[in-house]
Symmetry: C2
Subunit: 208 residues, 2 copies
């Protein structure tokens, strides 16, 4: 699959490299494609490319958003031709006030859907730490990747991308549930930082 990853930070870099290793063709959209960080990310992996955010948005029909949410909204509002594309929102709108606090009453995902009319937004890859994006187990158990969206075909693509990384995908319903996945991220961040659990944690849905 051809995949665009907007952002080449901890989350975007880890996801893009992991998908390239599993046979996908990945294009990172970044502000400075010639930076040392980006060069290091691409080194030795032929399935990885990098370019501007605009070039990245044109490259693939599956676009994973791993830049800060305000940057993503600004770029999407300036971009035409996103109709029919799958936008995978891995962001969280969080501010800090003695601990992580939601910056919005609604979800980023719903703002993204309005900024890119005709696209298919799926919330995913937002409720686990970057270190675990490439799918390692915790205490011998595979974490779940929770996702939601309104388009079934788009969700099937995201479920496959999550499975490729070793996650068990768990569909939590329509895009309006994205705010609850952002809540899950806030709980994760609070536990990892203020509560001292560290980043080696993840939520799992127990079922029989």
């Amino acid at each position: 699959m051809k995949i665009t990853v907007l952002g080449a930070g901890n989350v975007g870099g880890t996801l893009g490299q992991a998908w390239a290793k599993r046979g996908h063709e990945v294009f990172f959209g970044v502000r400075d494609p010639g930076s040392d960080n980006v060069r290091a990310l691409l080194a030795g992996e032929g399935a990885l490319q990098a370019g501007s955010l605009a070039d990245a948005l044109a490259f693939a029909d599956v676009i994973v958003i791993a830049v800060p949410w305000r940057v993503a909204l600004g770029q999407l509002e300036r971009t035409a031709g996103l109709e029919g594309k799958v936008l995978v929102d891995a962001t969280n709108a969080i501010t800090w006030d003695g601990g992580p606090v939601a910056a919005l009453q609604e979800s980023v995902s719903e703002l993204i859907a309005r900024a890119a009319p005709g696209s298919h937004v799926v919330k995913a890859f937002n409720s686990i730490g970057a270190e675990h994006m490439a799918g390692p187990k915790i205490a011998g158990i595979s974490p779940d990747m929770f996702f939601c969206g309104d388009d079934e075909k788009a969700k099937a693509i995201v479920a496959r991308l999550a499975s490729d990384l070793g996650f068990e995908p768990v569909d939590v319903g329509p895009l309006r549930n994205a705010r609850h996945l952002e809540s899950l991220a806030l709980l994760w961040i609070h536990l990892a930082t203020a509560r001292g659990y560290g980043r080696n944690i993840a939520f799992k849905l127990l079922r029989e």
Copy 2:
């Protein structure tokens, strides 16, 4: 410990009976203490009593709220002498619109804290099904009981009550995080109903 449980429905009834079996003295606050349902609940268990909501609120310093959230708010607003009491909020403010939807922008717990000034509110026992309130394992793993609040002594009491039922208690921080635990409940309900997972599910925090 002396425990008041407001409500004797699926959640309140299961919690109260389980705590009575583990040596606590439980008083159910209900609208009709003489009803068949309440009589059946008390049968054969000397550590269980039932009375009016007002009598129940006076009985113990630890009060678990398992009546609908609007009923709880109304009763607490009419009740004096709640200063210093631990109010354990097991409710969720949910409406239905093709699926479960939050009825509030903030959490019920914060409304309860305002309705009972001087009390210590802890959100807990809201993000798992009633059948699993008494602590059975799922797929051989103990579910976690997520809770939050602003008073450390009150949270220690709730952690002990959760441990007594077989849960691993997980403190997710201050009371303002209660909205995220209500999000967890919304995800649980959506998965159990619309997504077809059924009620035999629970969230777990994987850690090493």
